[in-house]
Subunit: 351 residues, 2 copies
């Protein structure tokens, strides 16, 4: 199954589920129409569908069969992700996501267009918080109603619950780390592990494998691959957040710098900076009014500290470790090939 | 089983679950300690445990037996309620809940005490959004791990999912109604139905009954009781929000007026106001700086329009309808007695 085919099937499953889930809202009140429409637009518009792909191939790695039921279960991860992203954008006051206005911005526009009372931004945040809650609930419903048998679902609920708790804890640790002002490579790596590595790769693999009743040995083998790839994915994302092309990241250039995200990249930069560099970092990082020149200065300083090279080194190490882990005799060879491709795509390495 | 005994068992179940749920957080990071502690403090500190009580008696009404498993399943509703309240307080920027600082205020205090960077209020909201998400996830886990058999749980998941969607939709309709400036009795009643009547009474009854594999006829009989009592409960709450004793409501006097809550009470007042009264309502309702005199003026104007009397009339009508519904031969007589008491307590009627 090609990545494009898988993506198409996941999108179709999401579309069908949301059609069904949104329909009863019209019976409650016509006022709920934007609530359903924005959810659908957000969930169906873009996204690499990485988590469903890891879930699918985790299932195949454990010897499970392809099925539409599996695709639906895997696709439910995108609704969980929608909750995480929508709430994250409220928390960070981000204006854009995937190149479009963030959900709270969309609702602020609805408020203005209707000429309603009160602060449009406050309305937008309120609606986005509730829409995120709804996405979290629907994720659950989509998994439970995927058509997968009750026994297989019972195997998976433990992973599902752990994953959901871990991502919220990771998000909180991230918020704390920003508040603390960062500076610790160890803490930044822990945030990357919980917010991304486990949530984006390891747990989706486990979820798919658990749905095939995988044993602990296989789950451990998948972790040997998934955790390093997940960390490498986040480290790559941190680099793209600073040096990436906005056309590709869907976020304005320098947004992560304006926000002052306390990533491993930034922790390395602070650690290795000389006095002048540290002063520049202190002054510009997290300045919401940072202009293009400021972005360029920061990019150059971070690079000059050697932080970019060190992060690339971490990515390489993790990528190599994960490649070796795929040679485990426990992992189905066809699935291992697909996971090798996914790992390359997620971390931008030639296969 | 007395209401006090039931409350005690529910509290014990919540305490035990949270001990178990919070424990793994320490293994992720010591930084998560306040995350667990605030959740526990919020969930275990007060609350009338109305929803678990309706769930419990819905189960007994359907002929189900008392069990610790049932108590755990019923108690999970308090975690869902924690999510709804914590997110609601963020949305309304409420400073207090149950007489104590709201969750986002508690985290703002932690931020200040630590001397962290950035805006303490923004940190507080971020933490409260994530804590609410966690409570929503834990609600699910607590129900699934209640010890109730898989077959019985399967009966209940449909109710559980519908209830969770309904409460979020009700909250959104409430936010829209505030933004619109209210004035429609019909729309205010719809908000009360979804935000409260279904969520607080009807669906908890159905959840308990579904766990005893109740048929549609019994669910319908419970709705005949639950919907009117739930609406009466919300109408009483609206009156208490304006005329209640702060020592009892846990909120400063006049908070609902300062917030400009668009309740059925307010819709009636606007509908029946003369020109001078309408002007006073327009000027003072929703004024965040409203002082004690302003609160008194508004209270008097709302009462003078006859709105209080009309709301009391709606409560009476609904209370009487619900009482008659309890005579259904489908409802276990012992459970009907307990539901009669609960209905009186929730709506403050002498039995």
């Amino acid at each position: 199954m090609s990545p494009a085919d898988l993506r198409e099937r996941v999108d179709k499953a999401l579309h069908e589920f949301l059609q069904r889930a949104v329909a009863p809202l019209a019976g409650i009140s016509a006022d709920l129409a934007p609530f359903g429409a924005v959810t659908e637009a957000f969930v169906l518009d873009g996204g690499k569908r990485l988590r469903p792909a890891f879930c699918y191939w985790g299932h195949r790695a454990a010897g499970g069969e392809d099925s539409d039921e599996l695709i639906r279960a895997a696709a439910s991860l995108e609704l969980l992700q929608a909750c995480a992203l929508v709430h994250d954008d409220v928390i960070d006051s981000s204006d854009t996501r995937r190149g479009s206005p963030s959900v709270h911005r969309r609702f602020a526009v609805i408020h203005r267009r209707q000429g309603w009372h009160g602060d449009p931004e406050a309305f937008g945040s309120a609606a986005a918080i509730l829409l995120g809650d709804l996405a979290l609930i629907w994720a659950d419903t989509m998994l439970a109603e995927s058509g997968i048998g009750v026994d297989a679902l019972q195997h998976a609920f433990g992973v599902w619950d752990a994953m959901r708790v871990e991502v919220m804890c990771g998000q909180y640790l991230d918020v704390v780390e920003q508040a603390r002002g960062g500076g610790s490579v160890e803490r930044a790596l822990r945030v990357a592990r919980y917010k991304s590595a486990k949530y984006t790769v390891e747990r989706p693999l486990h979820l798919g494998a658990a749905l095939a009743a995988a044993d602990d040995a296989l789950l451990a083998a998948l972790s040997e691959f998934g955790l390093p790839i997940g960390e490498a994915f986040q480290l790559r994302d941190d680099l793209l957040g600073v040096y990436g092309d906005p056309a590709e990241t869907g976020k304005p250039a320098g947004d992560d710098l304006r926000e002052g995200k306390r990533t491993v990249l930034v922790a390395y930069a602070i650690e290795s900076a000389n006095d002048a560099q540290r002063e520049t970092l202190r002054r510009l990082l997290g300045d919401p009014a940072l202009d293009e020149d400021g972005v360029t200065i920061l990019r150059d300083v971070i690079d000059a500290t050697g932080a970019v090279r060190r992060v690339e080194g971490l990515i390489d190490e993790r990528y190599d470790h994960a490649q070796r882990a795929l040679q485990s005799p426990l992992i189905d060879p066809g699935a291992a090939d697909a996971l090798r491709d996914l790992a390359a795509a997620a971390t931008r390495r030639a296969r």
